[in-house]
Symmetry: C2
Subunit: 458 residues, 2 copies
């Protein structure tokens, strides 16, 4: 048999134990916080029907949906017979696709199990999603998303709560200098109305506005112009967008100047409520900034939107979310209000590694019980099992190898203690413990050894 050179599909990754410990640390931290706020776990299948995903992610997103082939045999048929019938039959088989995000599956779930669920349905979900994207540094074709959402409440308290959760997650993970940018689709729509731009053009305008960070103000003006927005409209637009500063100031200026536009007024009132609730929830005021340029790409947002960014390094947003009151309706025929946030845990993990925010990687295994010779094998297995019964994570060395080799193994795996049972120890019912960090050895009876190994590491 010829050897298959082992390799990975582009844009995918293996997570070896050291990396897994980091990922588990972040995921566990996030999960604990979600649960502390009363959110409950949900998982949905990796494979969804294509029509569930279609029409939700915009044209660009749509292109990135990974389809799957239901039966392996269809493609072989196709290679043999390229008749219209076979091609059509084949293409009909390809009507399933990999999960693209966690929000659309959540909306599907709410529509399917509406009677079983208690609304507001407060759920979190931590699962991989797939994008048939061109892989590049920091962008993968398979990556975890980590979402927390409340479905069934129109209250701004729900929006404030998910923002407070973001704040607590980032703080707990050790981030000090981050900002939560806040805006509202209703304010954006109101600004467009004020500038005299037709609703049909809004998507086009939003795309341009969203690029401010990338292309600068002049770039945005140019792009708006290319997209058919007149100079006077652009001027009007930007006069509003440039309102910035303290959130209270921005909101009162918007209300004072544009309060007659009902959608805009509604949007500012919502943000007012969110900012008030964030204050009550203990989120420091300086964390939150109103940024009228914030658009958030996806098409389904209808109200408040937000993202969190680090001051340093400038690597885009760590989290992003908002209210999407009409997505469930696409499945149910009747709207159910919803809001939530997606934590970009891949990016969070990457940044934490870069900034050395993780504690030193350390195996959870505390003891390696060496294998001295055949006569002490049984005692070694038995003592290891006693340690495990006491909750001490313990490995048995499997091979009759030189002790030096066994110590090297413990060292390379960063296991702090090696237990040795030779014929002397066996005869005296003792064990010898070697500390791998100090090299110190001590011979103790089994009970004393068990106690010693139960102590926390210095």
């Amino acid at each position: 048999m010829s050897i298959i050179k082992p390799s990975l599909p582009k844009g995918t990754r293996d997570f070896l134990p050291d990396e897994m410990y980091r990922r588990q640390f972040v995921i566990q931290t996030v999960r604990d916080i979600f649960e502390k706020y009363g959110y409950e776990p949900l998982e949905t299948p990796s494979i969804e029907k294509l029509d569930v995903l279609s029409g939700k992610y915009g044209d660009e997103g749509e292109q990135l949906i990974f389809r799957v082939l239901k039966r392996g045999s269809g493609l072989e048929d196709l290679l043999r017979d390229r008749s219209e019938f076979v091609v059509k039959k084949y293409s009909e088989l390809v009507d399933e696709a990999l999960r693209y995000d966690l929000t659309v599956p959540l909306s599907r779930v709410v529509a399917m199990y509406e009677n079983e669920l208690v609304l507001p349905f407060k759920r979190y979900q931590i699962q991989p999603v797939w994008r048939a994207d061109r892989p590049q540094r920091g962008r993968y074709r398979e990556f975890y998303q980590c979402d927390v959402d409340a479905v069934g409440s129109a209250s701004m308290l729900a929006d404030a709560e998910v923002i407070a959760i973001v704040n607590e997650v980032l703080s707990t993970l050790g981030f000090r200098h981050f900002t939560i940018r806040l805006n509202n689709r209703k304010i954006l729509n109101g600004i467009l109305r004020y500038a005299g731009i037709f609703p049909e053009q809004s998507g086009s305008v939003f795309i341009a506005i969203d690029k401010l960070e990338k292309i600068g103000l002049d770039g945005v003006k140019k792009e708006l112009s290319q997209r058919g927005i007149s100079n006077s409209e652009i001027k009007k637009l930007l006069s509003v967008f440039e309102i910035s500063g303290d959130p209270e100031k921005v909101l009162s200026e918007l209300t004072r100047s544009f309060g007659e536009i009902s959608e805009l007024r509604e949007g500012t009132e919502e943000l007012q409520q969110i900012i008030g609730a964030l204050n009550d929830l203990g989120v420091q005021g300086e964390r939150v900034r109103i940024d009228l340029y914030l658009v958030r790409g996806l098409g389904y947002y209808t109200g408040p939107i937000h993202e969190s960014v680090l001051e340093e390094p400038n690597i885009g947003s760590l989290t992003g979310g908002g209210r999407y009151d009409r997505l469930v309706g696409m499945f149910l025929g009747r709207d159910i209000p919803a809001t939530g946030v997606a934590l970009g845990i891949e990016r969070i993990i990457d940044v934490m590694a870069e900034l050395q925010m993780f504690p030193t990687a350390q195996t959870k295994t505390r003891v390696l019980v060496a294998l001295f010779d055949e006569t002490t094998r049984a005692a070694s297995l038995q003592f290891a099992q006693e340690l495990r019964k006491a909750g001490i994570h313990t490995e048995n060395y499997f091979e009759l190898a030189k002790l030096k080799k066994q110590f090297t193994y413990a060292d390379r795996k960063r296991i702090p203690f090696v237990v040795l049972i030779g014929p002397d120890e066996l005869a005296s019912h003792h064990v010898t413990i070697k500390s791998m960090s100090t090299g110190e050895q001590r011979t103790l009876d089994r009970v004393a050894a068990l106690n010693y190994l139960s102590q926390p590491l210095p």
Copy 2:
């Protein structure tokens, strides 16, 4: 916009919170035990290159591999242009597939990162796999596997250890009456040699033998005969297969009668070592049974094989594993010995649900802080946050609804306590706590309330 009727692809499932709590309970139990034995976590991508998966799972398995389409656009090209060129280009794009099991990816990982890994590499992996199977009761197209393997040791201690882990997992989960069936591919090969059957026929014979439980002894005889095995060969074969009883007795009878067949002798010696080590590891002797009919379907096993079965209900194996010393070699060109076991956690979860082995489902949320009116909103948010700071899982009710509705919400979500802050409580810096199980109400100052809610539930 027309409504998309929400539905799931066949053979896939949503896991709502109650089900998720069960799954998390089983997975956490399993993970804790794996780690107690020194196994470390690994994750691999859902998508593998097709040539990594091909030729590993037998013809039947090969048919069940789910392929994925790298770019969404290829299929549209195909529908427009069915020329040989487009079909061929398209089929070349379809060279990636979904993970079929966790053993082949592990072998790929060991071959790819051999220099980084410390051998024996003791890893566990808990991730979904996909099979393009016809879904039926208890068989899904997407399901979790849960594997624990040691790669890089030829010692039978490794085999014994994974069996001991199975024993501990099933016992810890609450299973009382299960048996671990044990056999060895080397013994099977030795029996075939004794019966004069050519190695080329072994696969065919194994398939027939494996069906004993399904089709009975007469069925096996008939099938062997249909597969071209002569009556005298069948007689010889079955005379060996029928050896059963106490493990020690089976092994000594095999050695006495067929010890001159080196492969068979080697196989019995290996099982002897495993049984000895299992005894030292505290696995009760009556748990283990040597079953010469045990084959285990997959092609890659080379030594000891095992599975665990319940006495009642008869639902097939809960776990299955064995030694596969030549799989890594398919990627590396040089063999590395390996052994492990896959826990059928989907089946385990199904059986535990059927036998009502799960504790009553209960949300982790302990307190709902009701929303009385606008004047006490801030105090309600603040007190909820105080509870969370003390580690108490707490929900805020988002809506200004009638209290009855808020109590009903707590009741339906099985949240044990509702905290109420009305104008009186606000004025006196107290809160009222209602126990949802007893209906009892008490008004306490905040510190006392916090203490009260921190107590474990009765």
